[in-house]
Each structure stands twice: as C-alpha cells, then as structure tokens.
Symmetry: C2
Subunit: 216 residues, 2 copies
Amino acid sequence: MMTRFTLYGSPDSLPTYKVALMLRLSGEAFSFRYVSFQKGMHKTPEFLANSRWGQVPVLIDRECTHVQSAAIIEHLAEALGRFQGSDPATRQAVREWLYWDVDALFPPIFNCYGVQLGQRKLLPISVEPAIADYHRRRAEAALSVLDSYLVHRDYLCAAEPTIADICCFGDVAFAEICEFDLRRWPNAAEWAERVKSLPGFKAPFELLAMADAEFI
Amino acid sequence: MMTRFTLYGSPDSLPTYKVALMLRLSGEAFSFRYVSFQKGMHKTPEFLANSRWGQVPVLIDRECTHVQSAAIIEHLAEALGRFQGSDPATRQAVREWLYWDVDALFPPIFNCYGVQLGQRKLLPISVEPAIADYHRRRAEAALSVLDSYLVHRDYLCAAEPTIADICCFGDVAFAEICEFDLRRWPNAAEWAERVKSLPGFKAPFELLAMADAEFI
C-alpha cells in the first residue's frame, strides 16, 4: 500500500525529527527513507533533484515535493487541520514563533549538535573552539528566552499545542542530547514534559533510525 | 490623519528595511517611528510591551501588533493581496524561500553589518576576528546559492516578484553596504537590478532615516 507521505531524512537531522514528530503527533502514516550523510546520499543526483538546497528533510506529499522543515510543517498543519491554532491571531503568533525559532533557537542547537557529531567522528566536521563556544552561548540565551516566556503558559501560542511548540520542542530535545541541562530552564523543562506526554510522541532516536521504515 | 500602519524600527536594522520596502512596493502609507539603539529605546518598557523579543521591527496594523519581519511581511502580503504568488504551489515555494533566507542568507549578512557598526563605533559590539570571518564566509556561500538559482530565472518563485524576492533582496542590499562586490554573483546582481526598478523602490538609507516620518 502506498502511503500519502514519504519523508527523506536522517535521525541525526534535527529538522527531519521535527517533521517526523509532526506526522506522528498528527497520527499520519508515512514512509521514511534514510538519507545517509556518511554515504553522501544527500549529494546524489536523485536526491538533489528533489531538494532545492541539497538539504534534508524532504517530504513528498502525493506528487508534491516540499523542503525546509518549518515550511513543510506549516503545509502539514494546513493540509491536515492539526496544530494550526484556532484563530487568525493565534496563527500569526505561530508564524512569529516559527521565525523566532529559525532565527534564535534552532541555529545554535543545530550547530552544537554538529560539533558533537564531529567530536564523535560521525561527520568530518572540526569546529574552532571560539565558534563552538559562540554557538553554545547563543543556545543558552535562546533557552532562557523560551523559559521566561513559559513562566505562566502551558504552550507558546495558545492553551493547546501548536506547530510552534512542535518546532521549538525539536530543538530542545536535541539540546538535551547536546548535554544542556534543562533543569537550568525549569519552565521550558515542564513545557517539554507536556509535549512528551502528547499522544504519539517519540523522542528523536526512538522515532527514527538509520534505516528505511514504514510508520502505519 | 491616522495611517493604518505604524512601523517601529531603525534604518540600521536590516529586518526593518524589509518591512518598509514591502510597504513602499505595495504603495501603502505608513508612519515610521525611529527606535534608537544608541539611546536604548528598544529597552524601554513602552517598546518592550509591544515587542515580544525586544527586537525591531514592530508593525502596528490598526490595533494588532506584529513582530518578526518575515511574519509581518507574510501578514502584509495576505492582508493587501500583494506579492503573495498566484497559486498554492508558488505560495509554498515562497514559504520555503522565506525560511531559507532566515536560515542561510539573512544571519551572516545581519552579523556582517553588526561587525561594521561595531567598527564604526555606532554600536558597542566587538566581534572576534574568527567569528567575523565565519559570518563573511557563510554570507558568500549563501550569495552563491542565490546566484546559481537565478541563472535562468527573473525572480525566485514565479515570473513576477514575490515577498521571497523582497526579503532576500533586503539582505543583498545590506551585503552591498558591507562591501560584498555583487559582480562576483552576476545573476544575483541582475535580479537585484530588477527589484530596484520596481515602482516605489528605495534603497535602505534613502527609504528610512534616523527620525520619525510619515510616508503618504
């Protein structure tokens, strides 16, 4: 049986996790196709034909190809009617948080994880200590912003979770993998627990492995 | 007479320029309220009450407050019916480019401009040479991606300009201010000339000055 959605990506790709988590929390079946960086699969002509910037994830929704995780997740929210926010003001706040995420939270954590992959010799990356430290300080600053905002709130944009929570949570999950101690940001930690208790939730490496898979 | 739109920001803020350019190219009147970083105006309680992350720009549209330049510009595109792209596939491509911009093109150029403001003693910023160089290399890489994509295209997502062009153009305009020589990226340079010839266009410091202003 053909599933509607095919997700190309890697368990080591933070943005791939965000899209996979959105599909899981929405209860959608999907096919996962593992793109191995180590094997250079993201540089093959087949992959590049689908990925405008040569990046994972790529989501195929029927015949349409989608890239950029936040854009994919916005598309899914609209197409499935899930986690959108219930009114125009909430949906505009969701957009603002998605851009804040891509601006402030995602980049330093993505880069910290890249530093870790380099240290574990899983990627041929060697980052200068000054730059690694720069990413770490920026991640801490963004986690503090998130934490302050969540003092009196269950979720970022509404009483219910939206795709803003799903996207920001993906980063926080990888921050934990990068050994940021969430106890320093107790409101963000409680919010993360709320996301973890949503039906269908799976942590990054419980959700995706380095192999093709069918999620039914 | 009250205008519908009030834009809070600074001519030295790249994201402020993007929103001001969108308003200009859409032929919309707006009030500009200068927020001086040097005077710490972005840290006043009045400003912080409107700006969730303490950042410019902020756009007031009637009673609603909007932040994050790309989210503001998406709101304007929808509210005014301008530069959206004419069909769902184009609008999804626009989203992808907006996120690519915030991910790859905007941050290094924003940071290069910050380095320049620090060197000119206009901001109390002193960036380590390794980090300044990192930003510069990332900006060059992103300009190369933009240039390659524009080899056979007039605009990024359609035959006509969209907000993806407006947002990416804002960065390219500031790259020129940061002394990136656009002749190295001839397709991007030609595309930039096309944007500059749109009705209502103004370059960054021709459009906004360090003073409140009414654009009618």
